[in-house]
């Protein structure tokens, strides 16, 4: 496979993968790094790509696995520094402080979700996929996807609401 073909087949999905990695890690630099690793990995297995029915599904699977590994590694490294994992997503100095703080709350809530909940919430909310498509991509039944989605949404709301109820200073207290 030539690099141009690789571009058409694989790199085409860069924005989507970046959004997924960003959602899973809630950190821009990490997401950038990771997507680059994903592409390097795909390039190494380029001769096998024609075997796969959907390159997109393959990319999503690989990205998920690599995010999981990274999160595990980070957790191991950051035993003493739990607050590090709660980084702010998009730092725009012009945003109001309160707005930023609110967004960080959601970011923090997402980081606390189990992996499958995170992925399904992402594919539904950010990518706007149908339940059926998500079920195919993650290899779960439609019903299970729906239940997991509901759990993820409720969990995020619960965490955010709790913070509002108990005051904003506790943003960094969860791990």
């Amino acid at each position: 496979m030539h690099s141009n073909e690789f571009k058409d087949l694989v790199i085409l999905h860069q924005n989507r993968l970046f959004r997924l990695a960003y959602w899973m890690l809630q950190n821009r630099e990490d997401a950038e790094d990771l997507v680059q690793e994903v592409f390097a990995k795909l390039w190494k297995m380029k001769t096998e790509l024609p075997k796969y029915n959907s390159v997109e599904a393959l990319l999503i699977t690989i990205t998920r696995n690599m995010c999981l590994n990274r999160i595990k590694k980070k957790k191991l490294m950051q035993v003493d520094e739990p607050t590090e994992s709660v980084r702010s997503p998009i730092l725009n100095p012009h945003d109001k402080l309160e707005y930023k703080e609110d967004q960080r709350l959601v970011s923090n809530a997402i980081l606390q979700l189990p992996e499958l909940q995170k992925v399904i919430l992402h594919l539904k909310s950010v990518e706007g996929l149908e339940i059926k498509e998500i079920a195919q991509l993650v290899g779960e039944s439609e019903n299970h996807v729906r239940v997991t989605l509901s759990r993820a949404r409720k969990k995020v709301r619960e965490i955010v609401q709790n913070h509002f109820n108990y005051g904003k200073t506790s943003v960094r207290s969860t791990a």
């Binding site: 496979m1 030539h2 690099s3 073909e5 690789f6 571009k7 087949l9 790199i11 860069q14 924005n15 993968l17 970046f18 959004r19 960003y22 959602w23 950038e32 997507v35 680059q36 592409f39 390097a40 390039w43 001769t47 024609p50 075997k51 997503p89 998009i90 707005y99 609110d102 967004q103 709350l105 959601v106 970011s107 992402h122 909310s125 950010v126 706007g128 149908e130 339940i131 729906r146 239940v147 997991t148 989605l149 509901s150 949404r153 409720k154 995020v156 709301r157 955010v160 609401q161 509002f164």
Partner: protein, 323 residues
């Protein structure tokens, strides 16, 4: 009124039962409301929206492709070594012997097995059983010429200067660099080319019929007439022999049976023509014949018998309303 509508939408949303339209509507209502009751929902909706608008950073593609191209040129220089040692050897044996060895056509033949060959230009060819690939050990200056009988999957190294040309029976396939398969067994009445990536020129040897195939297209040359037709979807199971996967999407038995015969190298006879009315849906990973037979017998209420030479399919068949 609006609050009631919003509450209803939120309930659906949190139960995972809302449609895309309802979610849009909900986001709109949340945006226009400043009711503190919905603050968490509003903040979450804003967060999601920011994420939707996010893209990979500017210049990301160039960065990735730069890394990849660097790596490619590295591997290319590594591949020079076998060539260099070949040249060193030729000095020992003399230029004459060198030219004889490297210009002689060579052949790869498979019987019951499959084989993968890497040609001198780095192109890879995977041969299915009972196939034969003939090629020059080193290609000429103007084109890379090979010939095939049987079935093979080609991954051709791009070289815009030297087209890769395959002749097979009375057909000719010409490419610059892509991946595709060709099927042309002697007993086949057609020559089939299925394109996995890139573009492929497919013509009859006499040039009377010529088409250009794109990714996922299948070209079929009927040997008797030399005419070529194109279908714009990948032929199901055209690469099964290589991927070891068989998939049937509610296919008619007229398609299922030839695929099975080809995959397992068997012959299947129908006891009752009505069996052709049956449809079958199912997919298998590296199946044995027994695996497939069991599923077929179970789902279509038929039976297979082996008479020592071929399989005979028995059953009452399917009327049109049954699957």
């Amino acid at each position: 009124m609006e609050k009631q509508a919003l509450d209803q939408l939120l309930k659906k949303y949190y139960d995972g039962k809302s449609s895309a339209d309802e979610e849009d509507q909900m986001a709109q209502l949340l945006k226009s409301s400043d009711d503190p009751e919905y603050k968490a929902d509003r903040v979450i909706a804003e967060f999601v929206e920011t994420n939707m608008e996010m893209n990979a950073p500017a210049g990301f593609e160039e960065k990735v492709m730069g890394d990849i191209d660097n790596e490619t040129s590295n591997t290319r220089s590594v591949r020079l070594w076998p060539l260099l040692s070949g040249i060193a050897a030729s000095i020992l044996f003399g230029v004459l012997i060198f030219s004889i060895i490297y210009n002689q056509p060579s052949k790869v033949i498979t019987t019951a097995d499959q084989k993968a060959v890497t040609l001198s230009d780095g192109s890879r060819v995977t041969l299915n059983r009972n196939s034969e690939l003939a090629f020059a050990k080193s290609f000429g200056d103007s084109e890379r010429l090979v010939s095939l009988s049987g079935e093979a999957f080609f991954e051709v190294t791009p070289d815009p200067e030297k087209p890769f040309v395959i002749t097979s029976g009375n057909s000719k396939v010409q490419v610059l660099g892509t991946a595709f398969s060709i099927r042309n067994y002697e007993i086949d009445t057609e020559i089939i080319v299925s394109v996995t990536s890139g573009r492929v020129g497919f013509s009859s040897l006499d040039g009377a019929a010529a088409v250009e195939l794109e990714k996922n297209e299948t070209g079929t040359l009927v040997k008797k007439t030399n005419g070529i037709s194109i279908t714009d979807r990948p032929r199901a199971n055209s690469l099964s022999w290589k991927t070891r996967e068989l998939t049937f999407n509610d296919q008619k038995m007229t398609e299922v049976i030839p695929d099975l015969e080809h995959y397992f190298d068997i012959s299947i006879k129908l006891e009752n023509e009505d069996l052709l009315q049956c449809h079958f849906r199912g997919s298998f990973k590296d199946p044995t014949l027994k695996d497939v037979i069991e599923v077929l017998e179970y789902s279509l209420n038929l039976s297979f018998e082996y008479d020592g030479k071929q399989y005979i399919l028995k059953g009452s068949g399917c009327s049109s309303h049954e699957l």
